[in-house]
Amino acid sequence: MSPTFEFEGRQIPIEPGDTIASALHRAGVRTFNRSIKHHRRRGLYCVTGDCPNCSLNVDGEPGVRSCVTPAVEGVRVKRETGFPSAERDLLSATDRAHPLMPVGFYSKMFIKPSFAWPVAEKVISRATGVGRLPEHRVPRRKPARHLHCDLLVVGGGVAGLSAAIAAAQGGERVILCDEGAPGEKLPPGPTLERVRALADELRAMPGAQVFERHTAVGIYEGPLVPVVGEEALLRIHPERVIVATGAVEAHSVFRGNDVPGVFLGRGAARLAGRHRVLPGMRAVVAASTPEGLEHLETLRSAGVEIAVVAIPDDMADRVPSGVPVVRGGRVAAVEGGKTVRAATVTSPTGTERFECDTVVLSLELTPRDALLRMGYGLPVSGAGDSVWPGCTLDEAAESGRLAAAGTPVEPRAAEGIAVARHGYVCLCEDVSIGDLEQAWDEGWRSSEILKRYTTATMGPCQGAMCSRILASFVTAKAGPGPAGTRTTARPPARTHRLEDLAAGIHEVIDKRTALHDRHIEMGARMDWSGSWKRPFHYGDAAEEYRAVRERVSVMDVGTLGKFLVAGRDATTLLDRVFPCRVEGLEPGRSRYLVALDEAGYVMDDGMICALEGSRYYLTSTSGGADRMEMWLRNWTDRWDLHVHVVNQTTMLGAINVAGPRARDLLSALSDDAIDRETLPHMTHAEITVAGVPCRAIRVGFVGELSYELHHPRSRSVELWDALLTTGVAFDIRPHGLDALEILRMEKGHFYLGQDTLPDDHPAKLGLGWAVAMDKPTFVGKVALERMADIPIERRFIGLMFEGAAPTRGVPLYDGDHIVGRVTSCGWSGALSRAIGLGWMRAPDGVFATDLRAGETRATVTTPPFYDPEGARLRA
């Protein structure tokens, strides 16, 4: 028994080599889809992955091109357009109601009354569309890779392979990608052999890489070409690109040109030749290319009865004898509903109707050039059929070599297509010639404007099938000129899953301190804090809080920005960059540092520690480290100073030892003097703790006696372990960011960016004391002077709540007016009540004191809440 897959409850047998489409066609399925607007039946047409007609839902995934998707046993396939089904679609009434749904429908209808639009929108969005997103689907996470090369060739046919080989012979690094595999679409014959030989030659060349089943998404500035593969998204950065994506048989327009049973020649031949399934029993063939005659032969030998061949006069003699021929004939109309019933062929000698179930069109080639039509202004050239449609194999090879050599391959202008009076121009978007005529009459008179108004060429194929027809339509009306140029294509040139385009976005590298593994061993909940992973708590944040306030605790603050600033002009640099006074800061002393931007707004904060010999050690916030380095280097460069800025952020670890027993703990581990007189608040010293050399900085974000121990990263674990081991005697425990949040809130310390706004200058944050306005100059000083006269109407405030803390971020109301916002809040153990930080406005200069945060009453205070004199900090 042959394998099967499921199609709407039926089991469809799979023959070797089948695609989903070929198996369905063999099983008698003719309607694959309903068109997007008019719900017309659509069946297999191109069978090369170019047109939208065969899109099906496969295993829950919408929009799968079934004609190029191998049939796999057990998959579940269904159609998803049409209501209640694609086979019996009640909405096909919209086709007969065509005059009621004119082009520009959305722009015209429901504008008035406006209240009708929300309802209408729901109805329309149900009635249109080409598929439904799966409700539950875990996207596959694919990686993204960056590749660099001299030349990227898209398309592995004769032209593309020849171009790649020529460039590789010239010593260039070449990447060639093909959405399939070189030659796989070709029937056995000399062309296939030539492609195989070229592909083998290229694969053997050093410096050349071939990616099969890799589809170029588009060409972006750079140039950057994202290429979707099964395993990864490749972001290819070539010096230049050659597009050799071939051509597709031209779509042609006549009444009934979209009825199931109308095929492009390659599609019919592919079904009959490769898949051994007859496209139909009796066919009308229209051929005007040598390839068309091959397709005729393929169909005949497969057993398709040929009703007639419509062919140019000069090719008629090449049709095998016995096959009826209409010289100079063309298909003028097709009749049919579910499938083709008959075709009308006109010729100079008259018009004749032929009963048939299949119409095969092999009229000319149209370049598959969406990538070329989006690469304007970039180093992109075409080769082969995509610029010279219908060229010979030798010409294709020649064009590839020319393009590789950098010689522009001038496109051979494809002749205009005779535009009929009926029929569908754009299959993706369901735009007919009548729609274009109507839009033209309404005054939309160039191809780009018609595209926007009618949506023709806007669909998934990006005009691969129809942009020439649209251009020809305009040129026929307006004459040659810019109005009738072909429309620009937009990425993606093919249909892709969003998960493929999103490849790599999950590849975020977290920064880790040296103590990362220790935290995990201690049961910490690690989470993102900026670009770092940091411990939020070790199981009991309330107990961690008590350890800091009552005993002693440690926190990993290795994420802080850490900088050594040295050199002849170090003092000058810091004095000119920062608003605090640096000159005269004695070695061993520290100062709070606020960094202003040129607009006078607070950018970052940290500490500045004066070392011996005009050297300084700076800290910044964890998130501001990179910016701080750029800031210091920028001014060093622009002022032409002699300063070394060494970013030590990842070279050094830092552990904050905080709590009333902090000194007792360190004394047990260090012989150095760390008493209150030798090492008071806002000083620092080089000491040795448990054998580890440390720079101990007396500073306290949490408001208790604390020592920040900055030390070589390689010694972090050793130091951490020693502190925790010796700390057992003091009932030590580490604290995470959750405990820190309330600890710093009690002290009224803001988090930059969380509690502050981008236009907070120091005075708004109560930091006027940190700015030495009497210094001759510093970055932002002129701006502060300019703003000095502007009354401060927004302030950083403390809040005390009645009852539980509100949700962070809620607005603050004064009566009915929103006057501010709660930016931090939580339960204070020290105050036994909910507290918070935030900001409020008072345009009239009067700051209210009784506010409402949502439903919670809030009293405005001036932080800090805890130990306002700082006695514990200075202990």
Partner: protein, 76 residues
Amino acid sequence: MALRIPCPHCGLREYTEFTFGGELRDLESPDPEQDFVRVYLRENDAGPQRERWFHTFGCRRWLTLTRDTVTNEVTP
């Protein structure tokens, strides 16, 4: 439109290694009104402009160059 930046320390490198630092501006302007213009307003020229770039994934130095904002042509 390919954008490569000639770094005096690292050679010709892809622009993605750099952080854009904006138009080159005057260092300072003592007059508060002029300083407002200096800090807030940009020329936004279509054509060559002097720019600052920071080689983030390289030498971590700043450089000043001229880039044509229309063609991305870069001259030191």
